[in-house]
């Protein structure tokens, strides 16, 4: 009999109601699954759009147009004083040597024609010739087929960014130059090849010569400083706060402030670096050392928070076991807690480092945005970093910098992925201990 008064329902009734509610439950489960799949699909679509746009723009940036010309390396012209030093080569007329080879290749005669021909080739060509000869003196007084980068406007023209139908006065390549380019192309002297400037070049106002080498080294130096400072300090802080510090008001305030620091905009750390390290301590601007310190300050909260979570996740039974056989608190921490928490600590550190690698704003504050052609040799040499380099290139008007920017982004992403992969390998190794 089914009771009419409210209260527990009879088993029969309950069976019925459960059956009736099943359809609704199944429907909501199905809906939730659909929602989840939809969310993943949208996220993947964005990822695909992002990557295809970066790669379609960036991959051409890894290549550029070169011209191959027969250069008569004349000692008289190249090194007129005969001293054969970097300076004497610099005083020689490398430009003239290359120019005359170029004129011969395109058959340019007369001043205006020669001027047009001269614009085809990158100003970096002379530097490259000098370097080549300096490294290999046996090249003197020989005739070599050499490959030089073409000017960025020519490059853009060859890629089709400059339309030859445009009236001459509206384009950066005049009709004479177009004629010469066609001739060189017909002779098979224009080569589309991997851009060594991108990888081995440094900052340059000439887009065809600009490269990321200096910024890459700057990033490595800055991140090294950041890691060396942030990892030990962060892990030590986490261990102290989690295991040793008495739980009182002061530690509570410290904890709250660490959590708050994690949410402070990174540019604020840059201002701090500017005010303290450059303003008060009078250290030089633009150096990776200060960049690393500023990024370490920014990364510390991330490392501390994730390290504390990792320490908290160590089962209390392990601590009890260690204390039970008479290990002291410090022995318990160092022999048992830290090894078990290490994978989690490393994960936090890598997340922090990845954040630091992509950080631009605080470094702008301490002057790492300066135009620096030299590759930094140490943490106290002025330098810049990859994201700042990308930021600067994105600002330039020349068409070729657009591709270089995307190419640099690809390099940055590759750097990031390599770092994460290394972290996963290290973590797996530590975890595999059981």
């Amino acid at each position: 009999m089914i009771s009419t008064s409210k209260g527990m329902v009879s088993p029969k009734m309950a069976t019925k109601r459960v059956a009736a509610s099943m359809a609704k439950r199944k429907k909501s489960e199905r809906n939730f699954q659909l929602l989840g799949r939809g969310a993943i699909a949208v996220a993947l679509a964005f990822l695909v759009v992002l990557f295809s746009s970066i790669f379609s723009k960036g991959l051409p940036g890894f290549f550029q147009y070169y011209v191959e010309i027969e250069v008569d390396i004349d000692r008289e012209k190249l090194d007129p004083t005969g001293i054969f030093s970097q300076q004497s080569l610099y005083d020689g007329d490398a430009r003239g040597v290359i120019r005359s080879a170029l004129y011969a290749a395109v058959g340019a005669e007369g001043r205006s024609n020669k001027r047009a021909a001269g614009k085809l080739i990158s100003p970096g060509a002379e530097q490259r010739l000098r370097k080549m000869v300096y490294n290999d003196p046996s090249l003197m007084d020989t005739t070599q087929t050499l490959r030089f980068a073409m000017d960025d406007d020519v490059d853009s023209f060859l890629r089709g960014f400059i339309n030859r139908e445009t009236p001459e006065k509206d384009r950066r390549i005049n009709d004479r130059m177009v004629e010469y380019i066609d001739r060189l192309q017909a002779d098979g002297k224009i080569i589309y090849a991997f851009s060594d400037y991108l990888i081995f070049g440094s900052a340059s106002r000439n887009p065809e010569m600009a490269g990321i080498y200096g910024a890459f080294i700057g990033s490595i130096l800055t991140l090294s400083v950041c890691l060396v400072l942030a990892f030990p300090i962060g892990v030590a802080t986490a261990i102290y706060l989690e295991e040793i510090a008495p739980k009182n008001r002061i530690t509570e305030i410290v904890e709250i402030n660490i959590n708050n620091l994690a949410a402070v905009p990174s540019v604020v750390f840059g201002i701090l670096g500017l005010a303290v390290f450059i303003g008060i301590f009078g250290m030089p601007r633009s150096i990776p050392l200060i960049g690393g310190v500023v990024l370490a300050l920014m990364t510390l909260p991330t490392i501390i928070i994730s390290s504390r979570a990792a320490i908290r996740a160590v089962p209390p039974s392990v601590r009890e076991a260690a204390l039970g056989v008479g290990a002291s608190q410090i022995q318990t921490i160092f022999h048992h807690v830290i090894p078990l928490a290490m994978p989690g600590m490393l994960t936090g550190t890598i997340i922090g480092m990845a954040q630091a690698l992509g950080e631009t704003a605080p470094l702008l504050m301490i002057g790492m945005v300066a135009f620096i052609v030299d590759v930094p040799g140490s943490v106290t040499d002025p330098g810049t970093v990859l994201p700042v380099q990308i930021f600067m290139w994105a600002d330039f008007a020349e068409r070729m910098f657009v591709q270089k920017t995307s190419a640099a982004i690809i390099v940055l992403l590759a750097f990031l992925i390599t770092m994460n992969a290394a972290a996963i390998v290290v973590r797996k190794k530590l975890e595999r201990r059981w």
Binding site: A321, V325, A327
Partner: protein, 282 residues
């Protein structure tokens, strides 16, 4: 149908605090005690967990603590090697002595104390290290072994006494966590005896084990009792009856009755002890 069940469940007697004795019934004293506890009181914050507990633990005896959940038997056990120190809100007062030395004296370091009073926990908790390292850890941090060969001997002897050597001697480098539950608990016992303690505290050591593994541990306790004093907290009355010479019955933070196991189970003197061991509550 409930009515068809045989026999009604026993009625739960009301627990009346006034019935708790102010002093423990039975003989709390032994001759030549290894450990003495007098008027021990433990507070967690405002809450009193145990009070007025006095008990002697003799040399080479097995004493079991029984009582319903939350009666304070584990709390008292953890006072004996100061494991309660790890709980911030916990306050212990009274007097506990090991061989006449006050273990709560201000100048006492817990490290040597815990080396003399070993502990085995409810859930087997081997370190995530090799079997060898598990046993060798205690001797290593206390500097007991003279050299590597000596360490090997210590580990072998501890594993032999824990009845585990024949099962693991050819895989000492395997992780301790890869053993079965019963083996892990014996490994924990080996780890505890490797530092040559005087007393071993066992907090429900068999509650996570199957009957066969339990039988092995009980056999082991019996063998170890020739050299060590063993204090065992258990929920199983049969286990208390099987392994211990004396039994102490705790209730609501008081030590109600203590005596030789046979006597306590045959002729409990306090009504509550009687109720508990006859299964009327617990």
């Amino acid at each position: 149908m409930i009515e068809s069940q045989k026999g009604a469940p026993p009625e739960m007697p009301d627990i009346d605090l006034a019935k708790l004795p102010n002093t423990t019934i039975g003989d709390i004293y032994v001759e030549n005690p290894r450990m003495t506890a007098r008027q021990v009181q433990v507070n967690y914050g405002d809450k009193t967990a145990i009070e007025g507990v006095s008990l002697d633990i003799g040399g080479c005896e097995v004493i079991s603590f029984i009582g319903p959940s939350g009666c304070g038997k584990s709390t008292f056990l953890r006072c004996l090697n100061r494991m309660n120190d790890t709980i911030k809100t916990c306050k212990v007062s009274g007097d506990i002595r090991l061989n006449g030395d006050d273990i709560y004296a201000p100048d006492v370091d817990v490290v040597p104390l815990r080396a003399r009073v070993g502990m085995v926990f409810q859930k087997p908790n081997p370190f995530p290290k090799s079997i060898f390292d598990n046993v060798a850890y205690g001797p290593k941090i206390h500097g007991l072994a003279e050299d590597r060969g000596h360490m090997k001997q210590i580990v072998q002897e501890a594993l032999e006494r824990a009845g585990l050597w024949s099962e693991v001697h050819n895989r000492l480098d395997d992780p301790g966590t890869g053993l079965s539950g019963g083996q892990q608990q014996r490994l924990c016992i080996a780890r505890a005896i490797a530092v040559s303690p005087e007393i071993i505290l066992m907090d429900e050591p068999c509650s996570a084990l199957d009957p066969i593994a339990t039988a092995r541990i009980e056999h082991l306790i019996h063998e170890l009792s020739s050299e060590y004093s063993i204090v065992i907290v258990t929920h199983s009355l049969q286990q208390a009856a099987r392994v211990s010479k004396r039994t102490a019955y705790f209730h609501l933070g008081r030590l109600v009755e203590v005596g030789l196991t046979d006597r306590l189970f045959m002729k409990p003197q306090h009504e509550m002890t009687n109720n508990y061991i006859t299964g009327r509550f617990g």
